[in-house]
Symmetry: C2
Subunit: 584 residues, 2 copies
């Protein structure tokens, strides 16, 4: 486990907010999506930092299945550290010196907000099974009441992982006018049958416990054995195969009991402990109501997912973690692709982590890197942006910038750290997007305020409709993809014009190297040996021209670059780089 | 789900064996690994086909966690079809016209063999929790008694999936003299903590059921709710995310009940049904004892895995399925690599399936393809083998064969369908192995009786010690790997000599093509366009000679091939293929 701990609650941080306190806001009633009414409704919440004069620096944090309002700082009541404390505080990702951060317990929960263990005013007893069915939409509608009560018109941002991410998506879709940016993490727009199945096993374990008594257990023993089994299963799905290997291996417990069905392995002891301690802090009926809300959540209400985001105006940053098998990457990708199809400004980053679903609570260094810069970009949105550009720019970047009409929409395939995109925004007022497979480069792009997708070019551009851009750029990336033919076809589908730049394999230096020495060329534009080159394809300017002819692609402009100058004559002999503007 | 059904029990086959009957063999006692004694012991078993005169055509099938002895045919008692019927019968993979196939219920089970629900002769009541702790080793020792009773000295083969695969491994290690070949499928040499954790949640669910009564429930209500929860969880792990998507999607059940915690989704209804029907057919204590045996199983008893296989003389065919996340591929790979390190003849094939762990019961067409030919190879082992070779052979194959000393050990990296390996076995009596990434090519190699590993060359050769071979061959594969430098280094580590063959990029046709036309060469030995080539690296004969100098590799022989003849002068100009024998 090296330096990191496996649970966020264990993460200590020197920069705590001291003496936080959970507050309560009660309002008359809430109309539920089922048609029922919940009345009255209390929302437990905590706040950190100060709401500014314009009331435009508010950030809402949404918690996951078993979370609560105490997200940051040290509670003056319980002395516990908040569940995402390393992310929230002075100078942290959600910087409480700049932002007014708050978090509320969901309705249906058991941490201060109205839920099945709350008093039913009609009977004078806890609701139990009579608590109405609630949805993620209802949780968010209750948050809207709190936001109104706090006097906030529009949130600067909303962030949350897992079920918290579902609330973020619901805000984007159902309250688009109230959100400037959204950060859904490790989440899904709707549960898969496998995810529903895991929740159902947990529910069946609870309901199988005779202490559950159809939900009417308040005042007597709680269905602890069943709730504990549900929690144990949950914990398996929150970790990853590899993180369990690292944490437990096949080590036996120190205090193994002689009886044959007791826990022999450390992993069993850990899960049992987690299960038992959960009984103390969570209500079994809340577990049932909330997991049902999660399973039934579908941001698009059964329609095509991108339809849901058509009214969304917020910018979106979607974060996922490689080893999260409970909320696999394809679910985060689907959110980003639906956003893009709906024209929403969406950025996607996959963090390389072995911690599984828990990663969103553990990998706070990486999340900080992304979110801190992202929020800065959102806050300065209407101000003057100065891009971080190294002048003088390279000649091929200069040529590409000159090809682009001012105010165009541009997609840069293989955008690297965003140097070219920044230049296009600065000089051509372009509206940019990029795709890049390198994680560190994506971090730089996010820091630059660019909208980027973390992924491989070879999988295609299904997130974009036909002719979505004025330009697609493939600069120094075509020769590194596995399927250049397919990548070019996709580029020409989503854009009217495509700019292609590549090292010219037909350059005299390559040719001579090969002709006279009979060896694979190593030149200034192709500087690698045959055995360590990242280039998977080698093409010359003539190859590309011939290819375009074969595929009925029109070359509308071609510029050839030698050593710091453009080449007019015999470009296939003398140019190191070929740059083409092509169209269908 | 298309044409295939999701459970083997549903698979109908026209070629059933009619009127099978479960038989019973009882013996006095069994010494258990724990030091306890089980006495008496009854083994339930079924047999199909006839034991031949030499008693050397017997194949034992081992069942998984909840299986039984009725593996094939239609039972004359229950009229049920055996659980792996599509694999066993006349003309099937385990051909009952040729082999004597049998299967026995494990001890600890509840399908006729002695288990916790059997009568304890001391008390006159069912054992319950007093049943002794049993291991996979004990299950196999009981099978050994049955094998002896049947008069079989050495088994032609043992096969089984999941826990059945563990028994296969245990036979290989603990009874090496009794096994000629072994087919472990979808299994592991030891459980990971995640696998232990899933089992422990199932056990906790059973033990949380008040009807369980510390295992003393016989004669009263069974702990059905708990057992059902355990089975529901099991079913999630047996399927895959994608197979659940295909089978259930997010469809609602037809007969949804109005009560809020009932199953709303089809997937929930399916799991509930599976859980409830399991109560009728399985004993909760057997579930506890058997899952504990699985979790504690470690074929190497805590030592390095390859140590375990040092005494194994059986040939091994390991089969795994791509979407099996309960027994992930790396566990099957680890078995194969340990076998190879121990010098065991091991073949590995990954079948591309979406059915998850269940695939071993469903993908019987692919398994038949592999196992039928494999068993044929094992049976004819001491006879005269005629290899399926297309004469005349290509010149480069002829040159390679000529380089190899008779009786050598050879590893062919990128062996394709095994043409060259067969030739080496036929003409040079070589002892061959191959590595190949294409599934269909692997099938052909298995049909040819070759020992092959299904995998990627770029991951290295960790399954082989230094100098394990006389020759490694890299014929037409070096230019297609991602990391040629690493692949060559590994080849030179595991072998004294390495034969490398590749298309010569320095050939006059390539050079001229490039020099005069300025285009990426398309020649007879490099027949692809730049945008559709499978070659990731381009090297000439001179490049390779220079590379060897740089890496201190000695070239002991080089032969150059043009159009159907060898080239003596100016090979880098005139040879289409360069063939080198190199050494450290």
């Amino acid at each position: 486990m090296s330096l990191k701990q496996s649970h966020a609650a264990d993460i200590k941080d020197g920069n705590n907010i001291n003496g936080t306190r959970t507050k309560f806001y009660t309002f008359d009633f809430l109309d539920l999506e089922s048609g029922d009414k919940l009345s009255p409704v209390t929302i437990a919440y905590e706040t950190y930092g100060k709401l500014n004069e314009h009331r435009d620096n508010a950030v809402l944090i949404c918690h996951a299945l078993t979370g609560d309002a105490h997200v940051a700082g040290i509670s003056s009541e319980t002395e516990k550290v908040g569940w995402w404390d390393s992310m929230i505080g002075p100078g942290k990702a959600f910087d409480t010196d700049r932002y007014f951060v708050f978090c509320s317990n969901v309705i249906g929960g058991c941490k201060g907000s109205t839920g099945p263990s709350s008093m039913n005013p009609i009977t004078g007893k806890p609701y139990g099974p009579d608590f109405p069915v609630i949805t993620i939409g209802d949780m968010v509608n209750a948050q809207v009441k709190l936001v109104e009560y706090l006097g906030i018109d529009k949130l600067l941002s909303i962030a949350g992982g897992s079920m918290g991410g579902m609330q973020v998506l619901e805000w984007m879709v159902s309250h688009p006018g109230r959100v400037r940016s959204a950060i859904p993490i490790s989440t899904a727009a709707r549960h898969s049958p496998q995810q529903i199945a895991f929740n159902e096993v947990g529910r069946q374990a609870i309901m199988a416990d005779p202490n559950w008594k159809d939900g009417n257990f308040y005042g007597s023993s709680v269905p602890g054995r069943g709730l504990s089994v549900a929690r144990m299963l949950g914990h398996i799905t929150y970790m990853s195969d590899i993180s369990m290997q690292e944490k437990f291996g096949r080590r036996f417990r120190d205090n193994r009991q002689p009886f044959k069905f007791t826990a022999d392995f450390e992993v069993e002891g850990y899960l049992l402990h987690r299960g038992l301690s959960f009984i103390e802090r969570f209500d079994a009926n809340s577990y049932l109501f909330i997991t049902k809300a999660i399973d039934h959540f579908d941001v698009s209400r059964g329609n095509k997912m991108h339809e849901a985001f058509k009214k969304t105006t917020a910018k979106v940053l979607v974060i996922a973690f490689k080893s999260d098998w409970l909320y696999p990457l394809y679910q985060s990708e689907a959110i980003v692709k639906a956003c893009k199809l709906a024209g929403v400004d969406a950025t996607y980053c996959v963090v390389d982590s072995t911690y599984g679903h828990d990663a969103f609570l553990i990998e706070t260094e990486e999340e900080t890197h992304l979110i801190k810069h992202y929020l800065e970009g959102v806050s300065r949105e209407n101000g003057t942006v100065v891009f971080d550009i190294d002048y003088p720019v390279s000649l091929n970047h200069r040529v590409i910038v000159d090809m682009v009409r001012p105010g165009s929409t541009v997609l840069d395939l293989g955008c690297g750290d965003g140097t070219l995109l920044s230049l296009l925004m600065q000089e051509k007022n372009a509206r940019d997007q990029g795709i890049e497979k390198d994680e560190k480069a994506i971090y730089k792009c996010v820091a630059r305020g660019l909208s980027v997708f973390h992924g491989d070019l070879d999988i295609g551009l299904t997130e974009y409709g036909d002719n979505s851009f004025d330009y697609v750029i493939l600069n120094e990336s075509l020769q590194q993809v596995a399927l250049p033919d397919r990548v070019l076809a996709e580029a020409l589908r989503v854009s009217k014009e495509v700019i292609v730049g590549f090292p010219n394999f037909g350059h005299i230096a390559s040719r001579s190297h090969m002709f006279f020495k009979g060896k694979s060329p190593v030149t200034s534009s192709l500087p690698y040996e045959w055995y360590n080159t990242p280039n998977l394809h080698f093409l010359s300017i003539s190859d590309f021209i011939e290819y375009c002819k074969k595929r009925n692609i029109e070359i509308t402009k071609s510029i050839f670059i030698g050593k710091n100058r453009t080449i007019k004559n015999f470009p296939n002999l003398f140019a190191e780089i070929g740059l083409f503007l092509i169209t269908k």
